[in-house]
Protein backbone atom coordinates (compact mmCIF):
# COMPACT_ATOMS: atom_id res chain seq x y z
CA UNK A 1 0.00 0.00 0.00
CA UNK A 2 1.43 3.31 -1.10
CA UNK A 3 0.09 6.80 -1.05
CA UNK A 4 -1.48 7.86 -4.34
CA UNK A 5 -3.61 10.60 -5.85
CA UNK A 6 -6.82 8.99 -7.00
CA UNK A 7 -10.32 10.09 -8.00
CA UNK A 8 -13.43 9.04 -6.05
CA UNK A 9 -15.01 7.24 -8.99
CA UNK A 10 -11.71 5.45 -9.66
CA UNK A 11 -11.60 4.33 -6.04
CA UNK A 12 -15.10 2.92 -6.43
CA UNK A 13 -13.92 0.90 -9.43
CA UNK A 14 -11.01 -0.52 -7.46
CA UNK A 15 -13.28 -1.33 -4.53
CA UNK A 16 -15.71 -3.15 -6.80
CA UNK A 17 -13.02 -5.19 -8.52
CA UNK A 18 -11.34 -6.09 -5.25
CA UNK A 19 -14.74 -7.14 -3.86
CA UNK A 20 -15.01 -9.60 -6.75
CA UNK A 21 -17.27 -7.64 -9.08
CA UNK A 22 -17.28 -9.50 -12.39
CA UNK A 23 -20.19 -7.90 -14.18
CA UNK A 24 -20.91 -4.27 -14.93
CA UNK A 25 -23.68 -2.94 -17.14
CA UNK A 26 -24.02 0.79 -17.58
CA UNK A 27 -25.05 3.72 -19.70
CA UNK A 28 -22.99 6.93 -19.95
CA UNK A 29 -23.99 9.78 -17.63
CA UNK A 30 -22.02 12.49 -15.93
CA UNK A 31 -20.79 12.53 -13.16
CA UNK A 32 -20.64 8.73 -12.87
CA UNK A 33 -19.09 7.87 -16.25
CA UNK A 34 -15.57 7.35 -14.87
CA UNK A 35 -16.90 4.28 -13.06
CA UNK A 36 -17.97 2.81 -16.43
CA UNK A 37 -14.64 3.83 -17.98
CA UNK A 38 -12.69 2.07 -15.24
CA UNK A 39 -14.86 -1.02 -15.40
CA UNK A 40 -14.57 -1.22 -19.20
CA UNK A 41 -10.80 -1.12 -18.91
CA UNK A 42 -10.25 -3.31 -15.87
CA UNK A 43 -13.01 -5.93 -15.77
CA UNK A 44 -11.67 -7.93 -18.76
CA UNK A 45 -8.33 -8.15 -16.94
CA UNK A 46 -10.09 -9.70 -13.93
CA UNK A 47 -12.19 -12.18 -15.90
CA UNK A 48 -15.25 -9.95 -15.71
CA UNK A 49 -17.73 -8.69 -18.27
CA UNK A 50 -18.41 -5.06 -19.11
CA UNK A 51 -21.38 -4.22 -21.25
CA UNK A 52 -22.74 -0.84 -22.29
CA UNK A 53 -26.49 -1.21 -22.53
CA UNK A 54 -29.01 0.85 -24.48
CA UNK A 55 -30.29 2.74 -21.43
CA UNK A 56 -30.29 2.67 -17.64
CA UNK A 57 -33.33 0.40 -17.42
CA UNK A 58 -31.48 -2.16 -19.49
CA UNK A 59 -28.32 -1.62 -17.44
CA UNK A 60 -29.83 -2.49 -14.09
CA UNK A 61 -31.94 -5.26 -15.62
CA UNK A 62 -28.83 -6.86 -17.13
CA UNK A 63 -26.99 -6.48 -13.80
CA UNK A 64 -29.85 -8.23 -11.96
CA UNK A 65 -29.95 -10.98 -14.60
CA UNK A 66 -26.19 -11.48 -14.30
CA UNK A 67 -26.47 -11.64 -10.52
CA UNK A 68 -29.18 -14.31 -10.83
CA UNK A 69 -26.73 -16.28 -12.98
CA UNK A 70 -24.08 -16.05 -10.26
CA UNK A 71 -22.13 -12.89 -11.11
CA UNK A 72 -21.19 -10.15 -8.66
CA UNK A 73 -22.96 -7.39 -10.50
CA UNK A 74 -23.04 -3.63 -10.42
CA UNK A 75 -24.27 -0.61 -12.32
CA UNK A 76 -23.54 3.10 -11.93
CA UNK A 77 -25.49 6.17 -12.87
CA UNK A 78 -26.63 9.62 -11.82
CA UNK A 79 -30.02 11.28 -11.17
CA UNK A 80 -31.93 10.83 -14.47
CA UNK A 81 -30.60 7.30 -14.87
CA UNK A 82 -31.37 6.51 -11.24
CA UNK A 83 -34.99 7.53 -11.86
CA UNK A 84 -35.16 5.12 -14.80
CA UNK A 85 -33.77 2.29 -12.68
CA UNK A 86 -36.37 2.51 -9.93
CA UNK A 87 -38.77 -0.17 -11.15
CA UNK A 88 -36.00 -2.72 -11.42
CA UNK A 89 -34.63 -1.79 -7.98
CA UNK A 90 -38.00 -2.87 -6.58
CA UNK A 91 -37.72 -6.05 -8.66
CA UNK A 92 -34.28 -6.78 -7.14
CA UNK A 93 -35.74 -6.17 -3.67
CA UNK A 94 -38.71 -8.51 -4.05
CA UNK A 95 -36.68 -11.20 -5.83
CA UNK A 96 -33.92 -10.77 -3.21
CA UNK A 97 -31.21 -10.37 -5.81
CA UNK A 98 -27.89 -8.85 -4.73
CA UNK A 99 -26.94 -5.93 -6.97
CA UNK A 100 -24.99 -2.72 -6.44
CA UNK A 101 -26.35 0.56 -7.76
CA UNK A 102 -23.99 3.51 -7.69
CA UNK A 103 -25.71 6.88 -7.87
CA UNK A 104 -23.27 9.76 -8.14
CA UNK A 105 -25.79 12.49 -7.37
CA UNK A 106 -26.14 15.66 -9.42
CA UNK A 107 -28.57 18.55 -9.25
CA UNK A 108 -32.16 17.68 -10.12
CA UNK A 109 -35.03 17.33 -10.66
CA UNK A 110 -34.93 16.27 -14.29
CA UNK A 111 -31.73 17.23 -16.12
CA UNK A 112 -30.98 19.83 -13.42
CA UNK A 113 -27.53 21.39 -13.68
CA UNK A 114 -25.14 19.04 -15.43
CA UNK A 115 -23.20 18.54 -13.41
CA UNK A 116 -23.34 20.42 -10.17
CA UNK A 117 -23.38 18.46 -6.91
CA UNK A 118 -26.53 17.73 -4.94
CA UNK A 119 -27.94 15.40 -2.33
CA UNK A 120 -31.45 15.50 -3.74
CA UNK A 121 -31.84 11.74 -4.28
CA UNK A 122 -31.79 10.60 -0.65
CA UNK A 123 -35.48 9.82 -0.34
CA UNK A 124 -35.57 8.42 -3.86
CA UNK A 125 -32.79 6.02 -2.87
CA UNK A 126 -34.97 4.83 0.00
CA UNK A 127 -38.47 5.00 -1.47
CA UNK A 128 -37.96 5.42 -5.23
CA UNK A 129 -39.57 2.18 -6.38
CA UNK A 130 -43.28 1.59 -5.87
CA UNK A 131 -44.52 -0.61 -3.05
CA UNK A 132 -43.08 -1.51 0.34
CA UNK A 133 -39.52 -2.76 0.31
CA UNK A 134 -36.38 -2.43 2.39
CA UNK A 135 -33.03 -1.39 0.89
CA UNK A 136 -29.53 -0.57 2.06
CA UNK A 137 -28.15 2.87 1.19
CA UNK A 138 -24.54 3.82 1.94
CA UNK A 139 -23.03 7.29 1.69
CA UNK A 140 -19.31 7.86 1.05
CA UNK A 141 -17.79 11.18 2.16
CA UNK A 142 -14.20 10.68 1.04
CA UNK A 143 -12.26 9.01 -1.76
CA UNK A 144 -11.26 6.37 0.79
CA UNK A 145 -14.95 5.80 1.55
CA UNK A 146 -15.62 5.32 -2.16
CA UNK A 147 -13.30 2.32 -1.97
CA UNK A 148 -14.31 0.89 1.40
CA UNK A 149 -18.06 1.45 1.16
CA UNK A 150 -18.04 -0.16 -2.30
CA UNK A 151 -16.43 -3.27 -0.83
CA UNK A 152 -18.95 -3.12 2.00
CA UNK A 153 -21.81 -2.71 -0.47
CA UNK A 154 -20.86 -6.01 -2.11
CA UNK A 155 -20.55 -7.74 1.27
CA UNK A 156 -23.93 -6.46 2.42
CA UNK A 157 -25.71 -7.16 -0.87
CA UNK A 158 -24.62 -10.78 -0.72
CA UNK A 159 -25.13 -11.17 3.02
CA UNK A 160 -28.68 -9.81 2.91
CA UNK A 161 -29.57 -10.89 -0.67
CA UNK A 162 -30.61 -7.34 -1.39
CA UNK A 163 -29.96 -4.42 -3.70
CA UNK A 164 -27.54 -1.91 -2.17
CA UNK A 165 -27.37 1.69 -3.34
CA UNK A 166 -24.19 3.68 -2.87
CA UNK A 167 -25.27 7.30 -2.82
CA UNK A 168 -22.25 9.34 -3.71
CA UNK A 169 -22.28 12.87 -5.09
CA UNK A 170 -20.48 14.83 -7.77
CA UNK A 171 -17.96 16.26 -5.29
CA UNK A 172 -16.89 12.90 -3.88
CA UNK A 173 -17.04 11.18 -7.27
CA UNK A 174 -14.89 13.73 -9.11
CA UNK A 175 -12.57 14.77 -6.28
CA UNK A 176 -9.01 13.55 -6.18
CA UNK A 177 -7.45 12.85 -2.81
CA UNK A 178 -4.10 11.55 -1.69
CA UNK A 179 -4.97 8.25 -0.05
CA UNK A 180 -3.55 4.87 0.86
CA UNK A 181 -5.75 2.12 -0.52
CA UNK A 182 -5.32 -1.63 -1.02
CA UNK A 183 -3.73 -2.33 -4.41
CA UNK A 184 -5.87 -3.27 -7.39
CA UNK A 185 -6.20 -7.05 -7.32
CA UNK A 186 -6.05 -7.52 -3.55
CA UNK A 187 -9.28 -9.41 -3.74
CA UNK A 188 -11.73 -10.12 -0.98
CA UNK A 189 -13.50 -13.45 -1.37
CA UNK A 190 -17.26 -13.31 -0.94
CA UNK A 191 -19.20 -16.55 -0.49
CA UNK A 192 -20.69 -17.94 -3.71
CA UNK A 193 -24.47 -17.86 -3.84
CA UNK A 194 -26.25 -21.22 -4.01
CA UNK A 195 -29.40 -19.58 -5.25
CA UNK A 196 -28.40 -19.21 -8.88
CA UNK A 197 -29.51 -20.21 -12.35
CA UNK A 198 -27.86 -23.14 -14.08
CA UNK A 199 -27.14 -25.51 -11.19
CA UNK A 200 -30.30 -27.57 -11.40
CA UNK A 201 -32.38 -25.76 -8.81
CA UNK A 202 -35.19 -25.09 -11.32
CA UNK A 203 -36.44 -22.16 -9.32
CA UNK A 204 -38.88 -19.49 -10.36
CA UNK A 205 -38.09 -15.84 -9.79
CA UNK A 206 -40.84 -13.28 -10.15
CA UNK A 207 -41.72 -9.71 -9.32
CA UNK A 208 -45.19 -10.94 -8.47
CA UNK A 209 -45.94 -11.49 -4.79
CA UNK A 210 -44.89 -15.09 -4.27
CA UNK A 211 -45.06 -17.91 -1.76
CA UNK A 212 -42.13 -19.74 -0.18
CA UNK A 213 -41.72 -21.81 -3.36
CA UNK A 214 -41.24 -18.65 -5.40
CA UNK A 215 -44.55 -19.14 -7.20
CA UNK A 216 -47.07 -16.30 -7.60
CA UNK A 217 -49.75 -15.80 -4.99
CA UNK A 218 -52.70 -13.49 -4.63
CA UNK A 219 -53.31 -14.59 -1.03
CA UNK A 220 -52.85 -11.44 1.03
CA UNK A 221 -51.71 -13.41 4.08
CA UNK A 222 -48.88 -14.89 2.01
CA UNK A 223 -48.13 -11.42 0.66
CA UNK A 224 -48.00 -10.04 4.22
CA UNK A 225 -45.64 -12.85 5.20
CA UNK A 226 -43.36 -12.04 2.24
CA UNK A 227 -43.17 -8.31 2.98
CA UNK A 228 -42.64 -8.81 6.71
CA UNK A 229 -39.91 -11.36 6.04
CA UNK A 230 -38.18 -8.96 3.62
CA UNK A 231 -38.09 -6.28 6.31
CA UNK A 232 -37.21 -8.69 9.13
CA UNK A 233 -34.05 -9.73 7.26
CA UNK A 234 -32.60 -6.37 8.28
CA UNK A 235 -33.25 -6.78 12.02
CA UNK A 236 -29.63 -7.86 12.40
CA UNK A 237 -28.33 -5.03 10.22
CA UNK A 238 -25.82 -2.75 11.95
CA UNK A 239 -25.81 0.76 10.47
CA UNK A 240 -22.48 2.59 10.49
CA UNK A 241 -21.90 6.03 11.94
CA UNK A 242 -18.75 7.86 13.07
CA UNK A 243 -18.91 10.21 16.03
CA UNK A 244 -16.53 12.96 17.15
CA UNK A 245 -17.22 14.94 20.34
CA UNK A 246 -20.47 13.08 20.84
CA UNK A 247 -21.14 14.75 24.19
CA UNK A 248 -21.21 18.26 22.70
CA UNK A 249 -24.13 20.71 22.99
CA UNK A 250 -24.28 21.31 19.24
CA UNK A 251 -24.18 18.18 17.11
CA UNK A 252 -23.93 18.16 13.32
CA UNK A 253 -25.41 15.14 11.57
CA UNK A 254 -24.12 14.89 8.02
CA UNK A 255 -23.23 12.55 5.17
CA UNK A 256 -21.44 12.62 1.83
CA UNK A 257 -19.72 15.83 0.83
CA UNK A 258 -21.81 17.80 3.38
CA UNK A 259 -20.01 15.84 6.07
CA UNK A 260 -16.65 17.18 4.91
CA UNK A 261 -17.85 20.78 5.16
CA UNK A 262 -19.65 20.16 8.45
CA UNK A 263 -16.56 18.59 10.00
CA UNK A 264 -14.54 21.67 9.12
CA UNK A 265 -17.35 23.91 10.43
CA UNK A 266 -17.20 22.03 13.75
CA UNK A 267 -13.50 22.85 14.04
CA UNK A 268 -14.17 26.52 13.27
CA UNK A 269 -16.91 26.62 15.91
CA UNK A 270 -14.77 24.88 18.52
CA UNK A 271 -12.11 27.54 17.82
CA UNK A 272 -14.72 30.14 18.69
CA UNK A 273 -15.55 28.40 21.95
CA UNK A 274 -18.68 26.55 20.82
CA UNK A 275 -19.11 23.04 22.24
CA UNK A 276 -19.63 21.25 18.91
CA UNK A 277 -19.46 17.67 17.68
CA UNK A 278 -20.40 15.62 14.65
CA UNK A 279 -22.04 12.36 13.66
CA UNK A 280 -21.23 11.04 10.19
CA UNK A 281 -23.84 8.83 8.58
CA UNK A 282 -22.08 6.17 6.50
CA UNK A 283 -25.32 4.20 6.39
CA UNK A 284 -28.34 6.26 5.37
CA UNK A 285 -30.80 3.33 5.28
CA UNK A 286 -31.83 1.38 7.26
CA UNK A 287 -31.58 4.67 9.14
CA UNK A 288 -29.29 4.53 12.21
CA UNK A 289 -32.16 5.37 14.58
CA UNK A 290 -30.54 4.19 17.83
CA UNK A 291 -27.25 5.95 17.17
CA UNK A 292 -28.92 9.24 16.25
CA UNK A 293 -31.39 9.11 19.16
CA UNK A 294 -28.57 8.36 21.58
CA UNK A 295 -26.49 11.36 20.55
CA UNK A 296 -29.54 13.66 20.58
CA UNK A 297 -30.19 12.83 24.24
CA UNK A 298 -27.10 14.75 25.33
CA UNK A 299 -27.29 17.51 22.71
CA UNK A 300 -29.16 20.79 22.94
CA UNK A 301 -29.38 21.20 19.22
CA UNK A 302 -28.77 19.04 16.17
CA UNK A 303 -27.79 20.68 12.87
CA UNK A 304 -28.40 18.85 9.59
CA UNK A 305 -26.59 20.50 6.66
CA UNK A 306 -27.64 19.09 3.29
CA UNK A 307 -27.46 19.99 -0.38
CA UNK A 308 -31.25 19.74 -0.71
CA UNK A 309 -34.42 21.16 0.87
CA UNK A 310 -34.01 18.86 3.87
CA UNK A 311 -34.33 15.14 3.19
CA UNK A 312 -32.32 13.19 5.78
CA UNK A 313 -33.47 16.02 8.09
CA UNK A 314 -36.88 14.34 8.24
CA UNK A 315 -35.35 11.08 9.42
CA UNK A 316 -33.25 12.93 12.01
CA UNK A 317 -36.29 14.87 13.26
CA UNK A 318 -38.22 11.63 13.52
CA UNK A 319 -35.82 10.10 16.05
CA UNK A 320 -34.17 13.03 17.86
CA UNK A 321 -35.17 14.12 21.35
CA UNK A 322 -33.76 17.66 20.98
CA UNK A 323 -34.14 20.71 18.78
CA UNK A 324 -33.26 19.89 15.13
CA UNK A 325 -32.39 22.50 12.51
CA UNK A 326 -31.78 21.85 8.84
CA UNK A 327 -29.46 24.04 6.79
CA UNK A 328 -29.97 23.81 3.05
CA UNK A 329 -27.41 24.51 0.32
CA UNK A 330 -27.88 24.30 -3.41
CA UNK A 331 -25.77 23.36 -6.39
CA UNK A 332 -22.36 24.00 -4.94
CA UNK A 333 -20.18 22.57 -2.25
CA UNK A 334 -20.90 23.88 1.23
CA UNK A 335 -18.31 26.43 2.33
CA UNK A 336 -17.45 25.54 5.94
CA UNK A 337 -17.08 29.19 7.01
CA UNK A 338 -20.57 29.98 5.67
CA UNK A 339 -22.06 26.97 7.46
CA UNK A 340 -20.25 27.83 10.71
CA UNK A 341 -21.48 31.42 10.51
CA UNK A 342 -25.09 30.34 9.91
CA UNK A 343 -24.95 28.03 12.92
CA UNK A 344 -23.25 30.64 15.09
CA UNK A 345 -26.09 33.04 14.33
CA UNK A 346 -28.61 30.48 15.53
CA UNK A 347 -26.98 29.98 18.91
Amino acid sequence: MTKELIQGNEAAVRGAINAGCNFFAGYPITPSSEIAHGMAELLPKFNGVFVQMEDEIASISAAIGASMAGAKAMTATSGPGFSLMQESIGYAAITETPVIIYNVMRVGPSTGIPTAPSQGDVMQARYGSHGDYPIIVLSPATVEDMYHLTVEAFELAHKFSSPVTVLSDEIIGHMRESVTLPELGERIELPESENIIGIGRRMHRTGLAHNEHGLPTTDFKEYEGLIKRLFAKFDSFKPKVKVENGDADVIFIAYGSSYRSARRAVKILIGKGVDAGILKLETLFPFPEKEVRKISKKAERVIVPEMNMGQILREVERVCCCDVVGVSFFGSLIIPEVLAKKVEEML
Binding site: N22, F23, A25, P44, N47, G48, V49, V51, M53, E54, D55, I57, A58, S59, S61, A62, A63, I64, G65, A66, S67, M68, A69, G70, A71, A73, E87, S88, Y91, I197, G198, I199, G200, R201, R202, M203, H204, R205, T206, G207, L208, L215, P216
Partner: protein, 257 residues
Amino acid sequence: MKAEYAEMLRDTLPHVWCAGCGNGIVLGAFIRAFKNTGMERDKTVVVSGIGCSGRISQYLDFDTVHTTHGRALAFATGIKLANPSLNVVVFMGDGDAVAIGGNHFIHACRRNIDITAVIINNSIYGMTGGQTAPTTPEGRRTKTSPYGNPESPFDISKLAITAGATYVARFTSYHTRWLEKAIAEAMLHKGFSVVEAITGCPTHWKMKPYEILRLQKEKFVRSSIESVEEIRPEDIGIFKREVKQEFCEKVHKILRN
Protein backbone atom coordinates in the same frame (compact mmCIF):
# COMPACT_ATOMS: atom_id res chain seq x y z
CA MET B 1 -52.22 -34.54 -19.85
CA LYS B 2 -49.65 -36.32 -21.95
CA ALA B 3 -46.61 -37.38 -19.99
CA GLU B 4 -44.29 -35.69 -22.49
CA TYR B 5 -45.72 -32.32 -21.44
CA ALA B 6 -46.29 -33.09 -17.77
CA GLU B 7 -42.64 -33.80 -17.08
CA MET B 8 -41.70 -30.34 -18.39
CA LEU B 9 -44.34 -28.50 -16.38
CA ARG B 10 -44.58 -27.44 -12.78
CA ASP B 11 -47.61 -28.40 -10.78
CA THR B 12 -49.07 -24.91 -11.13
CA LEU B 13 -52.39 -25.55 -12.85
CA PRO B 14 -54.92 -24.10 -13.40
CA HIS B 15 -53.27 -21.55 -15.70
CA VAL B 16 -54.43 -17.96 -16.09
CA TRP B 17 -55.17 -18.08 -19.81
CA CYS B 18 -58.64 -17.85 -21.30
CA ALA B 19 -60.17 -20.83 -23.10
CA GLY B 20 -58.89 -20.87 -26.66
CA CYS B 21 -55.80 -18.73 -25.96
CA GLY B 22 -52.88 -19.30 -28.30
CA ASN B 23 -50.32 -19.20 -25.49
CA GLY B 24 -50.89 -22.85 -24.60
CA ILE B 25 -50.32 -23.85 -28.23
CA VAL B 26 -47.01 -21.96 -28.27
CA LEU B 27 -46.05 -23.47 -24.91
CA GLY B 28 -46.78 -26.96 -26.28
CA ALA B 29 -44.73 -26.20 -29.39
CA PHE B 30 -41.85 -25.03 -27.21
CA ILE B 31 -41.88 -28.18 -25.07
CA ARG B 32 -41.79 -30.43 -28.13
CA ALA B 33 -39.15 -28.24 -29.76
CA PHE B 34 -37.00 -28.22 -26.66
CA LYS B 35 -37.04 -32.01 -26.48
CA ASN B 36 -35.95 -32.18 -30.10
CA THR B 37 -32.96 -29.91 -29.54
CA GLY B 38 -31.38 -32.39 -27.13
CA MET B 39 -30.44 -29.48 -24.87
CA GLU B 40 -29.93 -30.03 -21.17
CA ARG B 41 -32.85 -28.75 -19.11
CA ASP B 42 -30.71 -27.64 -16.20
CA LYS B 43 -28.54 -25.60 -18.55
CA THR B 44 -31.57 -23.83 -20.00
CA VAL B 45 -33.24 -20.77 -18.55
CA VAL B 46 -36.65 -19.48 -19.54
CA VAL B 47 -37.14 -15.74 -19.18
CA SER B 48 -40.39 -13.88 -19.71
CA GLY B 49 -41.80 -10.39 -19.53
CA ILE B 50 -45.18 -9.18 -18.34
CA GLY B 51 -48.59 -9.90 -19.79
CA CYS B 52 -50.45 -13.10 -20.59
CA SER B 53 -47.37 -14.48 -22.37
CA GLY B 54 -45.20 -13.63 -19.35
CA ARG B 55 -46.90 -16.37 -17.35
CA ILE B 56 -45.29 -19.09 -19.48
CA SER B 57 -42.20 -19.05 -17.27
CA GLN B 58 -44.11 -20.00 -14.13
CA TYR B 59 -45.55 -23.15 -15.72
CA LEU B 60 -42.28 -24.55 -17.04
CA ASP B 61 -40.16 -26.69 -14.74
CA PHE B 62 -36.87 -25.00 -15.63
CA ASP B 63 -34.82 -22.26 -14.07
CA THR B 64 -37.27 -19.47 -14.83
CA VAL B 65 -37.25 -15.71 -14.50
CA HIS B 66 -40.43 -13.65 -14.75
CA THR B 67 -39.06 -10.14 -15.18
CA THR B 68 -40.56 -6.65 -15.53
CA HIS B 69 -42.67 -5.36 -18.42
CA GLY B 70 -40.60 -4.97 -21.57
CA ARG B 71 -37.21 -5.72 -20.01
CA ALA B 72 -37.02 -9.49 -20.39
CA LEU B 73 -34.31 -9.24 -23.06
CA ALA B 74 -32.18 -6.93 -20.91
CA PHE B 75 -32.36 -9.39 -17.99
CA ALA B 76 -31.62 -12.23 -20.41
CA THR B 77 -28.60 -10.35 -21.78
CA GLY B 78 -27.15 -10.20 -18.26
CA ILE B 79 -27.86 -13.89 -17.65
CA LYS B 80 -26.28 -14.98 -20.94
CA LEU B 81 -23.22 -12.75 -20.57
CA ALA B 82 -22.63 -13.92 -17.00
CA ASN B 83 -22.90 -17.58 -18.00
CA PRO B 84 -22.64 -18.12 -21.77
CA SER B 85 -22.96 -21.89 -21.30
CA LEU B 86 -26.67 -21.42 -20.55
CA ASN B 87 -29.32 -21.73 -23.26
CA VAL B 88 -31.55 -18.69 -22.88
CA VAL B 89 -35.11 -18.56 -24.22
CA VAL B 90 -37.22 -15.45 -23.78
CA PHE B 91 -41.01 -15.36 -24.15
CA MET B 92 -42.60 -12.00 -24.77
CA GLY B 93 -45.87 -10.65 -26.03
CA ASP B 94 -46.06 -8.14 -28.87
CA GLY B 95 -46.61 -5.14 -26.59
CA ASP B 96 -43.92 -6.43 -24.26
CA ALA B 97 -41.37 -6.93 -27.04
CA VAL B 98 -41.90 -4.01 -29.41
CA ALA B 99 -43.75 -1.30 -27.47
CA ILE B 100 -42.36 -0.94 -23.94
CA GLY B 101 -39.46 -3.27 -24.77
CA GLY B 102 -38.83 -2.03 -28.30
CA ASN B 103 -35.52 -0.45 -27.44
CA HIS B 104 -34.18 -3.61 -25.81
CA PHE B 105 -35.49 -5.67 -28.72
CA ILE B 106 -33.68 -3.78 -31.48
CA HIS B 107 -30.48 -3.68 -29.44
CA ALA B 108 -30.59 -7.41 -28.72
CA CYS B 109 -30.99 -7.91 -32.49
CA ARG B 110 -28.08 -5.57 -33.16
CA ARG B 111 -25.79 -7.31 -30.66
CA ASN B 112 -26.58 -10.75 -32.08
CA ILE B 113 -26.43 -12.22 -28.57
CA ASP B 114 -27.15 -15.95 -28.49
CA ILE B 115 -30.69 -15.77 -27.12
CA THR B 116 -33.91 -17.09 -28.62
CA ALA B 117 -36.84 -14.69 -28.45
CA VAL B 118 -40.28 -16.21 -28.95
CA ILE B 119 -42.70 -13.34 -29.47
CA ILE B 120 -46.33 -14.29 -29.10
CA ASN B 121 -48.14 -11.77 -31.25
CA ASN B 122 -51.89 -11.51 -30.76
CA SER B 123 -51.87 -7.87 -31.90
CA ILE B 124 -53.62 -6.64 -28.77
CA TYR B 125 -53.00 -6.06 -25.05
CA GLY B 126 -54.91 -8.97 -23.56
CA MET B 127 -54.23 -9.00 -19.83
CA THR B 128 -55.01 -5.31 -19.38
CA GLY B 129 -58.34 -5.53 -21.17
CA GLY B 130 -57.93 -5.34 -24.95
CA GLN B 131 -56.12 -2.12 -25.83
CA THR B 132 -54.32 -1.16 -29.05
CA ALA B 133 -50.87 -2.67 -29.43
CA PRO B 134 -48.04 -1.57 -31.76
CA THR B 135 -49.06 -4.57 -33.90
CA THR B 136 -52.78 -3.80 -34.07
CA PRO B 137 -53.83 -3.36 -37.72
CA GLU B 138 -54.73 0.15 -38.81
CA GLY B 139 -58.44 0.82 -38.48
CA ARG B 140 -59.09 -1.98 -35.95
CA ARG B 141 -61.38 -1.04 -33.07
CA THR B 142 -60.05 -1.74 -29.57
CA LYS B 143 -60.74 -0.35 -26.10
CA THR B 144 -58.27 2.47 -26.75
CA SER B 145 -59.14 2.91 -30.41
CA PRO B 146 -62.95 2.95 -30.28
CA TYR B 147 -63.08 4.86 -33.60
CA GLY B 148 -60.50 2.64 -35.31
CA ASN B 149 -56.72 2.47 -34.79
CA PRO B 150 -55.12 5.50 -36.48
CA GLU B 151 -51.58 4.05 -36.24
CA SER B 152 -49.66 1.78 -38.58
CA PRO B 153 -48.54 -1.52 -37.08
CA PHE B 154 -45.02 -2.89 -36.78
CA ASP B 155 -44.15 -6.04 -38.68
CA ILE B 156 -42.11 -7.73 -35.93
CA SER B 157 -40.24 -10.08 -38.25
CA LYS B 158 -39.22 -7.28 -40.59
CA LEU B 159 -38.15 -5.19 -37.61
CA ALA B 160 -36.01 -8.07 -36.33
CA ILE B 161 -34.40 -8.64 -39.72
CA THR B 162 -33.49 -5.01 -40.28
CA ALA B 163 -32.27 -4.58 -36.69
CA GLY B 164 -29.75 -7.41 -37.18
CA ALA B 165 -31.24 -10.62 -35.75
CA THR B 166 -29.56 -13.55 -37.49
CA TYR B 167 -32.47 -16.02 -37.44
CA VAL B 168 -36.03 -14.84 -38.03
CA ALA B 169 -39.14 -16.96 -38.57
CA ARG B 170 -42.87 -16.39 -38.37
CA PHE B 171 -45.60 -18.99 -37.99
CA THR B 172 -49.03 -19.08 -36.41
CA SER B 173 -50.83 -21.04 -33.72
CA TYR B 174 -52.51 -22.92 -36.58
CA HIS B 175 -49.18 -23.96 -38.16
CA THR B 176 -47.96 -25.65 -34.98
CA ARG B 177 -45.57 -28.19 -36.49
CA TRP B 178 -43.75 -25.50 -38.45
CA LEU B 179 -43.76 -23.33 -35.35
CA GLU B 180 -42.25 -26.16 -33.30
CA LYS B 181 -39.54 -26.77 -35.90
CA ALA B 182 -38.73 -23.06 -36.06
CA ILE B 183 -38.40 -22.81 -32.25
CA ALA B 184 -36.04 -25.80 -32.22
CA GLU B 185 -34.00 -24.39 -35.08
CA ALA B 186 -33.88 -20.99 -33.43
CA MET B 187 -32.63 -22.47 -30.16
CA LEU B 188 -29.86 -24.32 -31.98
CA HIS B 189 -28.96 -21.20 -33.98
CA LYS B 190 -25.87 -19.40 -32.68
CA GLY B 191 -26.88 -15.76 -32.42
CA PHE B 192 -30.01 -13.77 -31.76
CA SER B 193 -33.01 -15.68 -33.07
CA VAL B 194 -36.58 -14.45 -33.27
CA VAL B 195 -39.63 -16.63 -33.71
CA GLU B 196 -42.79 -14.61 -34.14
CA ALA B 197 -45.75 -16.77 -33.18
CA ILE B 198 -48.98 -15.23 -34.48
CA THR B 199 -51.88 -16.03 -32.17
CA GLY B 200 -55.29 -14.59 -31.53
CA CYS B 201 -57.16 -13.39 -28.48
CA PRO B 202 -60.64 -14.92 -28.46
CA THR B 203 -61.65 -12.79 -25.49
CA HIS B 204 -60.79 -9.39 -26.90
CA TRP B 205 -61.11 -10.13 -30.58
CA LYS B 206 -64.56 -11.45 -29.70
CA MET B 207 -64.04 -14.46 -31.95
CA LYS B 208 -64.38 -18.16 -31.34
CA PRO B 209 -61.02 -19.96 -31.06
CA TYR B 210 -61.84 -22.08 -34.11
CA GLU B 211 -62.65 -18.94 -36.08
CA ILE B 212 -59.19 -17.59 -35.26
CA LEU B 213 -57.53 -20.83 -36.34
CA ARG B 214 -59.56 -20.85 -39.57
CA LEU B 215 -58.54 -17.26 -40.23
CA GLN B 216 -54.90 -18.20 -39.73
CA LYS B 217 -55.28 -21.21 -42.04
CA GLU B 218 -56.91 -19.15 -44.79
CA LYS B 219 -54.96 -15.91 -44.49
CA PHE B 220 -51.36 -16.94 -43.97
CA VAL B 221 -49.19 -18.35 -46.73
CA ARG B 222 -45.83 -20.02 -46.42
CA SER B 223 -43.27 -18.16 -48.44
CA SER B 224 -39.58 -18.40 -49.02
CA ILE B 225 -39.07 -14.67 -49.49
CA GLU B 226 -35.54 -13.58 -48.81
CA SER B 227 -35.83 -9.86 -49.48
CA VAL B 228 -37.10 -8.09 -46.39
CA GLU B 229 -38.97 -5.49 -48.45
CA GLU B 230 -41.13 -8.18 -50.02
CA ILE B 231 -42.40 -9.70 -46.78
CA ARG B 232 -46.14 -9.12 -46.45
CA PRO B 233 -48.07 -9.34 -43.14
CA GLU B 234 -49.67 -12.60 -44.28
CA ASP B 235 -46.36 -14.28 -45.11
CA ILE B 236 -45.09 -17.01 -42.82
CA GLY B 237 -41.85 -18.92 -43.09
CA ILE B 238 -38.20 -18.74 -42.18
CA PHE B 239 -37.11 -15.35 -43.40
CA LYS B 240 -33.50 -15.18 -42.33
CA ARG B 241 -30.63 -17.47 -41.40
CA GLU B 242 -27.30 -15.76 -41.19
CA VAL B 243 -23.98 -17.02 -39.88
CA LYS B 244 -22.34 -14.21 -37.95
CA GLN B 245 -20.08 -14.07 -34.91
CA GLU B 246 -22.10 -14.07 -31.71
CA PHE B 247 -21.85 -11.33 -29.06
CA CYS B 248 -20.78 -13.34 -25.98
CA GLU B 249 -18.01 -14.99 -28.00
CA LYS B 250 -16.65 -11.55 -28.87
CA VAL B 251 -16.93 -10.28 -25.29
CA HIS B 252 -15.31 -13.36 -23.81
CA LYS B 253 -12.58 -13.25 -26.47
CA ILE B 254 -11.56 -9.88 -25.01
CA LEU B 255 -11.30 -11.63 -21.62
CA ARG B 256 -9.06 -14.38 -22.97
CA ASN B 257 -6.64 -11.96 -24.65
